[in-house]
Every structure is written in C-alpha cells, then in structure tokens.
Amino acid sequence: MTPIITIKNLSLSYSGKQLLDIAQLTLEQQQCTLLTGCNGSGKTSLLKIISGLLQPQHAEIEYQDLDLSWKKAKSLIQKDFIYMHQQPYLFDDDVINNISYGLLRYGENKARAHKKVMEALDWAGISHLAYRQAKLLSGGEKQRVALTRARILSPRLLLLDEPTASMDIGAKAQTSSLLQRLKKEGVSILITSHEAHTIDQLADRHLLLHNGQITDVATSTYNDNVITLKTAKRTHTK
C-alpha cells in the first residue's frame, strides 16, 4: 500500500479544550477508510483539516514526498482532495452549473466542461436532473449531484462527512452504489458514518476517534468492525 497522505502531531483545540491530539494518521491510496466516533468527537474537524479547510494549531503533513507544515501543504491538498459536507451545499443554480463549477475553476472551457458534465450525469444516472434547480432537489438527489460534482474533478482523496445520514433506504442504497463505483475507479475515500452497516461493503479499514485520538480498528469485514468497535466503546466507557 502506498500512503496518500500522512499527518503527524496534529493538535486542534477550541477555547482551551483539546479536541484533536493525533500522533500519526496515514491514509492509503485507493483505500476506503471508515472513521467513526461519538458526536462531537472531532470527526468533521479532522476531515476539514485534512482537506485544507480548517487550520489546526499544529500539524505536519507528508504529501507527495514532501514534509510540510499544514499551512504550506494547504494549497496542494485543497487541489487534490475534496470535502463533502454532511448535507452537501449546492449553489443556487441548475445542476449542470453546479457540476461544472470546479471544472471551470481549473480552467476547462465551457464547451468541454458541458460535455464532461453530461457524461458525468449519465455515469451517475441523474441525467434527468440536468436542468433542475439544485436547491429544489431532495436530500438524496443533492447527495448524488454533489458526488458527481466531486468525481468529475478526479480527486485523489474524497472526504465524506456522514454521506448517508438522514436519508431514506432508497436514497441510501443509491448513494452507497455510487460510492462503490467511485471506489472501483480507484478514488481513495475517507468517510465518517454512524451507520457502519450502510457502508460495510465499502470500508477497507476502520478508524475510531475517541478523546481526540485515533485508534485503528484492525478488521476487514463489517462484522469484525462492529464487534471491535463495540469492544472499544465498552473499554472507553469503563
């Protein structure tokens, strides 16, 4: 396995309270990592730090054979990693313009961007949404549009914050299926979820965030994950 990024000595605190204190975290290429933890454990903050959106008090980043401070690595990781909110934000525009947003920012011309967007919509099975106003879509549709918008930029790492939270069963299945296909395409994924069973087929690795620290829950199957997670939780409760 080749690491995509290694973060060392990460610390983040809010108003004097230490939220994250991680000695080392390595994410591997083409691997799907599931990150679990209680509410308020810092999962979202960790994802935002890794994606270059939230500045920690301290962090050293090993990325593309470079040892950098978080500040110096920020522009590199922002270019290669995409973070998706629990409830993805779609711009007040139609679906096509939402998906082409990133392509245009990276200098793609409008005609080529449009062609790529239509292909991407077809890939995601949401061509019928192309001209719909993004704000008026359902939660599941928004999630699929946001995944398509991320995928079109070919990110090296996709950071997904609770992508299936508050979705009905049908929407969950469609989102999981898209994530499976992204994984098959070789996209590395870091995903937080309270619903481990929804992404049991997806995760190669399971990390637990507790008391600001990361524990590697070394398992390869869902059942083992759940057992180990439960054991870990019980240990922490004690």
Partner: protein, 233 residues
C-alpha cells in the same frame, strides 16, 4: 386644496414637457448619487464580508460602529466634510468645496456604513458551507468571494438599493458641501428646498414627484429582492 391639485398638474406638465432645467437637476442628482454608490459599494462589501467571515480584534466594535453610523444625520456628514474641505481645513488645498466631487464624497460617507451594515447582515446569513464548497472545488479565495456574493445576491442588491435611496434623497450634506449652485451642484433635494423657500411650488412638486416615484420603485425593488432571497433560503 384646489391650489395644490392645480400646482401638481402644472408640475406634471412641466416634467413631461422636458423642461431642460428640471431634467438637468434630475440628471445631476442621479449622476452624483450613482457615482457615490458605485465607488462605495466594492470596498463596503469587502469589509462586510471580512466582518462576517473572519475573526479579528475590534471586529465587534467595528460592527457596532457601522451600525451606529448607518443612521448618522446627513447634516453632520455635511458639516464634517465642510470643515475639512473649507479653505482653512486640512483638505482645503484640494479646492473641492462646492463641487460635484464634494457631493460625491459626502454621499459616499453617508452610504458606506449602510452598505457595510446591510452587506454584513447579508453575508452573515450566508451558509458557511457555500464558502467551503467553493474552496474545496478549486476556487481561489477571490472567486469564492464572488460565488458567495452570488449566493446572497438578493440581500446585497437590497443593500445597494437602500444605499442609493438614502443618498439620492439626502439634503444636508449636498447643501453644505455642494452649495446648491445652478448648473453645477443643484440636485433634486436642494432644488426642492430652494424653490419652496421662494414660494415656487411647481418645480418643487415636479422634483418631489420624481423622488416619490423613485422611492416607490426602490422600495418595490427591495421587497422583490428580499422576497426572492426568502424563497431561496
């Protein structure tokens, strides 16, 4: 009452007849106020954004200051500017007193706090995810700023419209630093004041009608934009 109706009819006829003096005053008024708004809007919106999205020292104090200055009387602005631009003032050498430039400066000073405070409210209501999404999708900060502006455009347009409404109808500053000079610095409010003091109500009412119609349009505009914004949130 009969006199008022008769004068109003004469005023409307005067307006519609294309009276050159009246239309010169109207065009000067719009020219000065539009220039002031065009100059004040970009920096005001940048400051509004910074106040809404960044934490720094004196941020809260600045917000309070802009909110306070939002309702400062135009005559106070006029007086301050007059003292600065008068011959013995610190900016007397610029010889700007009783010019359109001085009127523009006065109106910038009047509209700036309003634009900033209303812009701040608009940015404050923006979803922070919009900014983060733009950045994570590869937008540079300035591009993400424009994206955010687009997301809160209705609130920002309402701010600009309200700012324009404030300056087009102000009299205190324009009278003091403009001097109400015919063909040079006479705008709608100063002309109304002058004509009324002379007992010449026709021109005053004609210009009043222009301000009234404008005010109606601006308020309707603000309602429409704010309503659209509500529908989109």
């Amino acid at each position: 009452m009969g006199d008022l109706s008769q004068t109003s009819v004469t005023a409307i006829i005067l307006l519609l007849s294309g009276d050159s003096e009246i239309w010169e005053i109207i065009s000067l008024s719009f020219g000065v106020s539009l220039s002031a708004i065009l100059i004040a809007t970009p920096p005001a919106l940048i400051i509004a954004f910074l106040l809404a999205f960044y934490q720094f020292r004196f941020r809260r104090a600045l917000i309070s200051l802009f909110n306070t200055f939002m309702s400062i009387p135009a005559v106070i602005i006029g007086l301050t500017l007059y003292l600065m631009l008068s011959r013995s003032g610190p900016l007397g050498d610029l010889k700007l007193l009783f010019t359109q430039e001085a009127m523009v400066i006065g109106q910038i000073m009047l509209s700036f706090p309003l634009l900033t405070a209303m812009g701040h409210a608009a940015f404050q209501s923006a979803d922070r995810r919009a900014w983060e999404t733009a950045i994570t999708l590869g937008a540079k900060p300035w591009r993400a700023f424009f994206t955010l502006m687009f997301e809160v455009r209705f609130g920002l347009i309402a701010a600009v419209v309200a700012g324009f409404g404030r300056v087009i109808a102000e009299i205190g500053s324009s009278m003091m630093v403009g001097g109400n000079i015919l063909h040079a610095t006479r705008n709608i409010p100063t002309a109304i004041a002058l004509e009324t003091s002379k007992g010449e109500f026709t021109q005053g009412i004609a210009l009043g009608i222009v301000l009234l119609v404008l005010s109606l349009c601006l308020n309707a505009g603000i309602s429409i934009f704010q309503g659209k914004g509500d529908l989109h949130t």
